[in-house]
């Protein structure tokens, strides 16, 4: 067959496929690739919940039965049950795997040794940009400062990126899981282009939301994931009733409180936008309490000028540090032991 014939045949084929895809769109059929992906992901999540929850509960029961084991390496889910200072906990009734709320922080004190810091965006994904400043640079700088502060306080710190690298959101979550981290803190900077007059601080934990502005923000932060907003929504629905929610909320609350009270001293107009739930992909994949802090607002001129100053970025890092310490010490003594040992 001649080269010309081959080309013509190929052209007919690709054209036919392009037309078929467009007809699917006209009929409202979801794109083939996404259909496959989403089904796979849901299946995975369903399986994961069946595997993880029994494991966690079995782990908890084992630890309680053995009175805890201080020599055990820190493992986020099991650790919840490993605290030796806890008054005796009633044996877990055998009610299957449908009661994740029993793992809430109020039931078992937390011990935090290992922290994963996630400097938002990076590499080919600059995040928000304003006045020549890139979100990825600010988050990395604050992340480095926070890493240093946490290390000095005796925490083990794992970072998702230590330079200007492109890292997929899923990979960040996987890294945190592989590191068996106790908490996950993702650092981001807001940009509210339509309201450049406002500036504020907000901290997120995972959950679904009906607030259109939050959906939009999550869509922007999840952009490089390749998922559509509706796909994200169904993903989140699947993992929504998870055991990390209460802990994540608590972590978000102390971080938000420390960020706001500390930064407001520099800027009386700074607004407290509070703790919110939103479906950020990076929070979906993590298996430990996880929050995403929007530590400032690049779209506001005054704040942008402040973010350019290293002293202000240091202040943000210190506030995050204080928040993490508060969360850790709200739990128990092992953290303090860690400080003495390392520091």
């Amino acid at each position: 067959m001649s080269a010309g014939n081959t080309t013509d045949r190929l052209k007919r084929r690709v054209l036919r496929e392009a037309v078929a895809e467009n007809i699917d769109v006209i009929r409202g059929v979801p794109p083939r690739a996404l259909r496959r992906h989403s089904r796979w992901t849901r299946l995975w999540l369903r399986r994961a919940s069946f595997v993880l929850l029994p494991l966690t509960l079995a782990g908890s029961s084992y630890m309680i039965a053995n009175g805890g084991d201080a020599a055990m390496p820190p493992r986020p889910l099991m650790q919840i049950a490993s605290a030796s200072v806890q008054p005796p906990v009633a044996p877990l009734p055998d009610r299957g795997v449908t009661t994740p709320e029993r793992m809430a922080a109020s039931a078992f004190p937390l011990s935090v040794r290992r922290v994963v810091l996630d400097a938002g965006h990076g590499g080919t994904d600059p995040g928000a940009t304003a006045g020549g400043l890139l979100e990825k640079e600010i988050t990395l700088d604050i992340g480095r400062r926070l890493q240093s502060l946490l290390t000095q306080s005796g925490f083990e710190v794992v970072v998702t990126r230590d330079a200007d690298h492109t890292i997929a959101l899923k990979d960040r979550a996987e890294l945190a899981n592989a590191a068996k981290s106790d908490i996950f803190v993702s650092i981001h900077v807001n940009a509210i282009v339509k309201h450049t007059e406002v500036r504020g601080i907000e901290t997120y934990y995972l959950g679904s939301t009906n607030d259109p502005s939050l959906t939009k923000l999550a869509a922007a932060e999840n952009r490089i994931s390749g998922y559509s907003v509706s796909d994200m929504r169904s993903l989140v629905e699947d993992v929504y009733a998870n055991a990390r929610s209460a802990e994540s909320h608590q972590l978000a609350t102390v971080i938000q409180k420390n960020l706001y009270s500390s930064l407001r001293a520099d800027d009386a107009a700074l607004e407290n936008w509070g703790v919110k739930r939103a479906p950020f992909l990076v929070l979906v994949g993590t298996q430990m309490p996880a929050v995403l802090a929007e530590v400032g607002c690049m779209s506001n001129e005054k704040e942008l000028a402040m973010l350019r100053r290293p002293e202000y970025r240091q202040k943000i890092a210190e506030a995050l540090h204080q928040g993490i310490r508060s969360y850790a010490s709200a739990g128990d003594a092992p953290q303090k032991k860690g400080i003495e040992k390392n520091g």
Binding site: R13, V14, A18, P31, P126
Partner: protein, 339 residues
Amino acid sequence: MAETLNVGIDLGTSRSAISASNGERFVVDSFVGWPLDMVARKVLKRDVLIGHEAVANRTMLDLHRPLERGLLKEGSEKDVEAVRELLKHLLRLVGVNGKSDAANVRAVVGVPAAALRTNKQYLRNSMKGIVDSLLIVSEPFAVAYGLDALLHTLIIDIGAGTTDFCVMKGRYPTEEDQRTLTIAGDTIDAQLLKLMEERYPQANVTLFMVRDWKEKFSFVGEPKAPVVVTAPVKGVPTEMDITNEMKAACEAVVAPTVETMLDLLAKVEPEFQERVRNNIILSGGGGLIHGLAQALEDALKAVGGGKVRATDDPVFIGSDGGLALASDAPEGDWEKLSA
């Protein structure tokens, strides 16, 4: 029966081009602006301005670039309206004059791959009612089709908002054949502006100025000549040498482009990898960066070498590809694609 006009449209983040079967070809800046108030409307004597006119009068306009960062922002009515205005404007340029026109217009519109991946339905609805029949495809695919490069080819289309990679395997590209980076022409602009602000803090420079300079002088590797530009410093036009800044800003796209290129190449079936490596096509505005093809070839040496060529006509390559698709599509298919 009404006369049929086939058109290929490249709806780009920075520029949009149209090629029509009547032989007309035009390119416009992808900017759409509406007068901010009554005064502006009176001065401009127009309800909407498009392309370089919009950029030139931007201080009086609510200016939109509808596919910024490669996506049509969902929920933004202004962006949808901007896309519609842009399409209508392009069609007017090739002689289609709205409802009164009796011609049957069939359009193939190429969009950034990411836009097509995330909101196909939204994109299609946004373009409803402007032409008689509509086929939307990813931009690198239109380029590949126009060049007859459908087999064992890698298209790297560096636009303003996105860099699209597409390996052509003799089929309509799937998710796994394509990648999108948001590092592209706009990243160079932002980087160049930042570097200039650092080096010449007194100079008054805007993104529009650095975009113009980039289009004239962009390079990676060794410069052909020093890059000297003029910008106001405290109101006084002043010459500045920005050779180093231009080099650094342009080279910011090299590493991620190389990384993605090598990653995609590694995923090609082993027996075809060499053929794909020797068939890499650089299109879009990025193809005009002096020395970029060479830099990519240098990087390919580590994996056995390869050939990268920039397209001869980066401006119309996508719209010409779209026109070729429009002309080749069978009559029966067009009937199913009414818009």
